[in-house]
Symmetry: C2
Subunit: 149 residues, 2 copies
């Protein structure tokens, strides 16, 4: 079984790169200013993105290695760790994205953020949702693989 | 295969009843006052709980029927609908719970909610997290059943 999207294929590599790019973008939009430090939700987002970025970069490197050099080795133990890790990180990303979106909404309604800052927060929330979606897709693809191992 | 937690067993009935109770409690904590109407995150929570309550009550009734009267009929089509529905509702509950929690946090920090109201919002968020957790458990149990059908 080697359909696209599974661990070790080029589609999976693309998913991982997408996750890394979107989560880095989210972190940058949030951190170009130090004001995020005063809101719990934004600190949560920064923490989670700090976990997602190394995770997706590592898996992207391993995917790239198996795409370009050899067939991937899919041991059930390793696959379980990857599926559970993706799973937990996708839940955490969703929680961070929705917290950020709702706090930004409150800040906009109460006119308590400076010009351009609120739109950066909005962009950050949107990009985090994209990263959540890609991470969920990776997780579902690999979950499908588990019973066949 | 008839292990506990799967569709049509008493453990599944207990999970469904727990979901219904927690989501009703969350709705009540939020709606005893009409002030929730001014925050997008709280409106979102009320909408999602309005979807989760009838869904879990219906499935609890169907579970009770198969527990007390006959063995459950597990057709792949019906099971897929149940798994996907649980899935989507669990993501939506998580998003609603984390939005509510972060908005409540902001309100408490800025001292902009009246006495006792903030603690009600906090309770509502906590109970929504519990409902999300039970709904995720149901969904995982039933997902495990799918490949064997």
């Amino acid at each position: 079984m080697n359909c696209q999207g599974l661990w070790g294929t080029s589609a999976s590599l693309a998913l991982r790169l997408g996750q890394a790019i979107f989560s880095t973008a989210s972190l940058l939009f949030m951190c170009l200013d130090v004001e995020f430090y005063s809101y719990t939700a934004f600190c949560f987002l920064v923490t989670i993105m700090g976990l997602v970025i190394p995770w997706s970069l590592t898996l992207a490197l391993m995917d790239a290695y198996s795409v370009f050099f050899k067939r991937p080795s899919r041991q059930p133990g390793v696959m379980s760790v990857i599926v559970v890790g993706d799973w937990v990180l996708s839940f955490l990303s969703l929680a961070a994205a929705s917290s950020t979106a709702s706090v930004t909404d409150i800040l906009i309604t109460s006119h308590s953020c400076r010009a351009k800052l609120c739109s950066r927060y909005q962009l950050s929330a949107a990009v985090t949702f994209l990263s959540w979606f890609l991470s969920l897709a990776s997780s579902l693809f690999n979950l499908w693989l588990l019973p066949s191992l």
